[in-house]
């Protein structure tokens, strides 16, 4: 009975997932909302984005970030503002997001920001259109890691982003952020619970996170999001990596993965060392 009901919800959610249409990105819409984003990023999160000059000024580029903050992802808000302000809304910039995020009725406007459902096809389409593409390989697994693992890059061994960079022959720019996992007290991913309820098969959800977050208190699933604590978000953009130039024409994926994750982890450790207090930064 429960299983049938869940399957029904899953089917309904799947039907709501919009087809990727890069044309839905609307530069005027983004431009008019940048002031709101600037207010949130500057006042609430005291965002600081460094090294945007490391992103090539034009052409396709794959931005690879670590992801934090549960279903409310302050690192994406701060980085999207910074990217659009720095390069201008005229430069096409897409972000891959979990299917369920785009299926939520209240978040339909994300598509106008250039957010498309995470899939290899959508990623290819975006890069083939010469756009900048932001991906979070850790996805739902990383974004719901416990708060005590906040300063850890955890891509769950997902290497699709390296295959994508090689296939499209585009530079890869690591984007490392800190602070997002201090916006609530994340207790457990609930990955076993998700498997038990077959959420993985039905919704592509590998987790059913448990956290303590405003205004809910105990927050299971984080499906309705939460009010994030005003943690300082710092983001460091690292120099671009040409995977073939650095690892040869036929690189070993494991070697590249270890190198990129290691580099991002070193940067995250350095950002963590700068922080004096949680939330305050």
């Amino acid at each position: 009975m429960l299983s049938r009901a869940l399957r029904g919800v899953a089917d309904a959610a799947q039907r709501r997932i919009p087809r990727a249409d890069l044309d839905e990105r609307d530069p005027d819409f983004i431009r008019e909302r940048l002031p709101w984003m600037w207010l949130v990023a500057s006042i609430w999160f005291r965002g600081e984005v460094r090294g945007l000059g490391n992103i090539p000024d034009s052409g396709p580029v794959l931005l690879v970030g670590n992801h934090s903050g549960g279903n409310v992802t302050p690192d994406t808000i701060v980085f999207t503002l910074a990217f659009n302000a720095y390069f201008g809304v005229e430069r096409a910039f897409y972000q891959l997001a979990h299917n369920l995020v785009l299926a939520m009725p209240a978040l339909g406007s994300l598509r106008k920001f250039g957010t498309v459902a995470a899939s290899p096809q959508n990623a290819r389409k975006a890069l083939e259109s010469d756009a900048a593409l932001l991906v979070y390989p850790g996805g739902d697994y990383e974004v719901h890691r416990p708060t005590w693992a906040r300063n850890r890059v955890d891509f769950d061994n997902r290497k699709g982003f390296i295959r994508l960079a090689l296939e499209q022959d585009v530079p890869l720019v690591p984007v490392v952020s800190i602070g997002g996992q201090e916006t609530a007290l994340f207790l457990n991913r609930g990955d076993r619970l998700a498997r038990l309820l077959a959420l993985d098969r039905m919704f592509r959800l590998k987790v059913l996170p448990i956290s303590i977050a405003a205004p809910w208190g105990l927050n299971i699933g984080d499906m309705l999001g939460h009010v994030p604590l005003p943690a300082k978000i710092t983001i460091e953009t690292l120099p671009a990596i040409d995977v073939r130039a650095e690892f040869g024409p036929d690189p070993d994926l494991d070697e590249v993965y270890d190198y990129i994750v290691g580099l991002m982890q070193d940067t995250l450790d350095a950002l963590a060392a700068e922080r004096r207090l949680p939330i305050l930064g």
């Binding site: 008019e32 006042i43 302000a85």
Partner: protein, 161 residues
């Protein structure tokens, strides 16, 4: 939102003009500016375009600007082509021999952004005004120091001659 800053510089307008009209020198004295690059073939004068970014809060904002007024050594004005809507103006006036009043004005906003834009413009105003104030102060110190060095060089040249 309109903000401005002004100062009196102990130097003739021409000396100030040489600094403010030279695109290679903007990063040296303009507060908060993280990028000032010539965009196009014309480095200065009417029609010259620059890619300019100013750090305000958590973002570097700006875009492409174009010089629309270039009246030596009195007025230099620009307007935005892309990015945040802006109009800016340097206004130089000689107040007495060898002294110049320097005024820097900036009007900015995001057309169509409604209440969010209005609030953001007002929240950003003290930050932008602070940048403008430090810019004219740093410009004044830079130009006055160059005047002192030029006079010292002239003295040494005269003595050695």
């Amino acid at each position: 939102m309109r903000v401005k800053a002004q100062t009196i510089v102990s130097a003739p307008p021409r000396a100030v003009w040489e600094v403010i009209s030279d695109p290679t020198r903007q990063l040296g004295y303009m507060s908060g500016i993280t990028r000032w690059e010539v965009a196009g073939e014309r480095p200065a004068g009417i029609g010259a375009r620059y890619r300019v970014l100013l750090r305000v809060g958590s973002a570097e904002v700006g875009g492409l600007i174009e010089v629309v007024e270039f009246a030596e050594p009195r007025e230099l004005a620009w307007t935005s082509v892309t990015g945040v809507d802006q109009r800016g103006r340097w206004r130089l006036r000689e107040v007495s021999a060898g002294r110049t009043r320097v005024e820097l004005r900036l009007a900015y906003g995001v057309a169509g952004s409604g209440l969010g834009g209005w609030v953001a413009e007002h929240v950003a105003a003290p930050i932008v005004t602070g940048h403008l104030r430090r810019t004219v102060q740093q410009l004044g110190r830079l130009v006055e120091a160059e005047q002192v060095r030029a006079r010292a060089l002239a003295r040494r040249t005269t003595q050695s001659a």
